[in-house]
């Protein structure tokens, strides 16, 4: 009996060890013949190449490790913006899919069916190579919203210039802390006395007034730098000042948002439909308005069904952002597993680091989701 349990395990172990050993031996032998060495020392070397778009200070004299950081931050930037936008869009479309209004319902399902069935890479190519290339050159661009320009070279808009920006930030954090405490206090008060506070309005007003106070009393100031057109040669112009978003980032975010929002919309729809009719009827019978039913009864329960598959979609979005390598957006794969790998030749180390990074992000999100699942499950009791 014991043998039956131990034998398959030993066989599996031997099999795994053999395979890993075979690969490692071959890799070592191949690297020796080619004169390559295995090591991570290259991370300290200077990168010698510039990156088009970076959130932190970077140029070619910095190390490969810093280039890795730039790529990682760019990936996270796309992922976070994409997740926020896709969630908003997906929630709206998901709810619209259940609307009694025929036109809205059909439009929502048309959107879902259309964008879900076309490969993401094709959508990215379309937005970048076909749509954004048709934008006008800077000299022909028309003014949008008073200070922004949408051109083939990117989206230029006004940039904020802070004096004492950190003080403003501190006030902002203070406002958030106050809001959290207030909400906890209001909830306790409500459970004890049944008094309902207009939590939402008070929170919003706190969020707005306290940072604004910093302008009055702490010497914070905000001015804007506007993009101004400058001629570089007889036929090409550019904008100085202001803030520029490269078209690569726009195309990637647009494609990722539109694609992932379809899946999130389906999850939201399944979540709302999964609530038994009895819940809605019982809530209506105690006199709650349709809005209150949605907010207090349906959404909390629906969230339990919606969150796990949606977290999966967030993960997919983060992984799909690696398709940036197909257009020239400098994300982790393009900068590190692309340019850096080609310049240093350290394929195994670099691909290993890249995969480890993505694995860490996936595991982090999975852990977060497991923690959240456990938290809601307890409340059920």
């Amino acid at each position: 009996m014991k043998i039956k349990k131990i034998l398959p395990q030993i066989l599996t172990l031997v099999f795994i060890v053999l395979i890993f050993g075979f690969f490692t031996m071959n890799a070592q032998e191949n690297m020796e013949t080619r004169g390559l060495d295995f090591g991570f020392g290259f991370l300290k070397e200077s990168a010698s190449f510039d990156i088009q778009f970076s959130l932190i200070d970077y140029d070619g004299s910095h190390s490969y490790a810093r280039a890795y950081l730039v790529g990682l931050l760019n990936t996270l930037l796309v992922a976070i913006i994409g997740i926020i936008l896709a969630t908003l869009l997906g929630a709206v479309v998901g709810v619209a899919r259940l609307s009694p209004n025929y036109l809205i319902r059909k439009t929502a399902s048309f959107y879902i069916e259309f964008f879900r069935n076309i490969p993401l890479l094709l959508q990215i190519f379309f937005w970048y190579f076909a749509a954004l290339r048709a934008l006008p050159m800077p000299e022909d661009a028309s003014l949008l919203f008073g200070s922004s320009f949408m051109t083939i070279k990117g989206f230029y808009t006004a940039a904020p210039i802070w004096t004492n920006g950190l003080v403003f930030f501190a006030f902002f954090i203070l406002a958030i802390i106050l809001i959290i405490f207030f909400n906890i206090y209001a909830k306790r008060k409500q459970e004890k006395e049944g008094k309902q506070f207009p939590k939402f309005y008070i929170s919003i007003s706190l969020l707005i007034t306290i940072p604004l106070l910093s302008f009055l009393i702490a010497g914070v100031d905000l001015s804007w730098s506007y993009p101004e057109i400058r001629q570089m040669s007889q036929s090409s112009y550019t904008f100085d000042g202001g803030f520029k978003i490269p078209p690569e980032l726009i195309a990637l975010t647009l494609a990722l948002t539109l694609y992932t929002a379809t899946f999130i919309a389906e999850n939201v729809r399944a979540g709302i439909q999964g609530i038994g009719k009895g819940q809605k009827e019982a809530a209506a019978s105690i006199g709650l308005s349709p809005n209150q039913v949605l907010k207090l009864v349906v959404m909390p329960q629906a969230l339990r069904i919606i969150i796990p598959p949606t977290t999966n979609q967030y993960l997919n979005l983060t992984k799909n952002s690696s398709l940036a390598a197909a257009i020239a957006y400098p994300d982790l794969v393009l900068v590190f597993a692309g340019t850096a790998m080609m310049q240093t030749g350290k394929a195994i180390e670099i691909v290993g680091i890249t995969m480890a990074t993505y694995l860490t992000i996936s595991l982090a999100i999975s852990l977060l989701m497991n923690w959240y699942n456990k938290r809601i499950a307890i409340q059920e009791k």
Binding site: P100, N101, N117, I118, S322, A325, M355, S362
Partner: protein, 426 residues
Amino acid sequence: MSINNFDLLKSNHQKKRNISLILGVIFFSVGIIDFYLNNYFNTNITSFLPRIINFFTPLIFAVIGLHLIRIEFSGIKILDSLNKNINTSNFNAVLSTSIILLIIFALPPLLNWLIFDANIAGDTKEACTGGGACWVYIKVWFNRFMYGMYPNAEQWRINVTFIAVLAFMAAGFFVPARFRNYLSFYYTILLPIISFILIYYIISGGSFGLVWVETGAWGGLSLTFMVSFFSLIFCFPLGMMLALGRRSNLPVVKYSSLSFIEFWRGVPLITVLFMSAVMFPMFLPEGTYIDKLIRVVVAITLFEAAYTAEVIRGGLQALPRGQYDAAKSLGMGYWQLHIFVILPQALKLVIPGIANTFLALIKDTPLIFVVGLLEVVGMLNLAKTNPKWLGFSMEGYVFAGIIFWIICFSMSKYSQKLELKYKTDR
């Protein structure tokens, strides 16, 4: 007297209702016509108004019209259903009108570009005289988009192989009841082997008098199908093994399956393909060289097997424990229990999930451009930079989009049908 309180048995109310209706229809039509004129005839009948209001006049008129039409029980059936569906409140009226205006704004130019102004006759770039899409470009490159760089004279071989494989797949439905038990064996083991042999000898060639065509020349939509097909049939048995391993009680087996699955699910497919192109040859003894296509299929198979394993595991979990207990009480061992009792039932449950995986697989095939294989999207990118055909990238993407959309949409509809069918079975 609000509109909603008509008591239609009174004749003067009826008159009021009729007036309201007619006014409403007039306003609504004015709104729509104004919008249409604004966009297509560049005339603006309300240009005397300030600019902001002028922009919104069609919307305002149409919403007023809908408001007037909104009679709760008008007695006219069509009107009632229209009101219930589109016009339940002012907010809904605004939304509906916006959608209608959007359709009027977008649909005619789109149809013009796609069909009415498009060119399809001719052979060269000069034949595209209209302002619309240049389908001549697609027509000229059609062979390349379907078959890649495969020599024109040999393309019949690809067609023959595909028909043969489809025939073999369909044959499974026509076997007499005697052989039904062996169907799963047929699909998971025999069919892959037969298909591989067919593809190796007919498409790749090199013997029986057929010219050898190297895998680098395969491409287009036929490559998409080949890669998806092989990845699917190989990832299925592997996924099954992994799912069983994940649920096993033996710690070594369980944790190695778990780490394998979590590893492949946590990394993006593009890095996996990159690894197979760049790193994988380093891990093989010097001098051995495995064909690029095989490496790609192996990489995609391992990747998709992890997702398939999760889907199958969901199916295994959904089976009631009673099945396991009953089978064990009949004296079945681990393998007998699974092959004859558990897996047939679990697989029925997960067919929609497998169909989803296949769909995701087809949508992931364009990524193989990183290793230099050119399927449909890759061929598109190649064609659009040909000096004789510059500037037609839009037509190419629309064409590829349509093809993929048709394939994926039909597959998802079919899988929904399957899901309904198998749901009622239980």
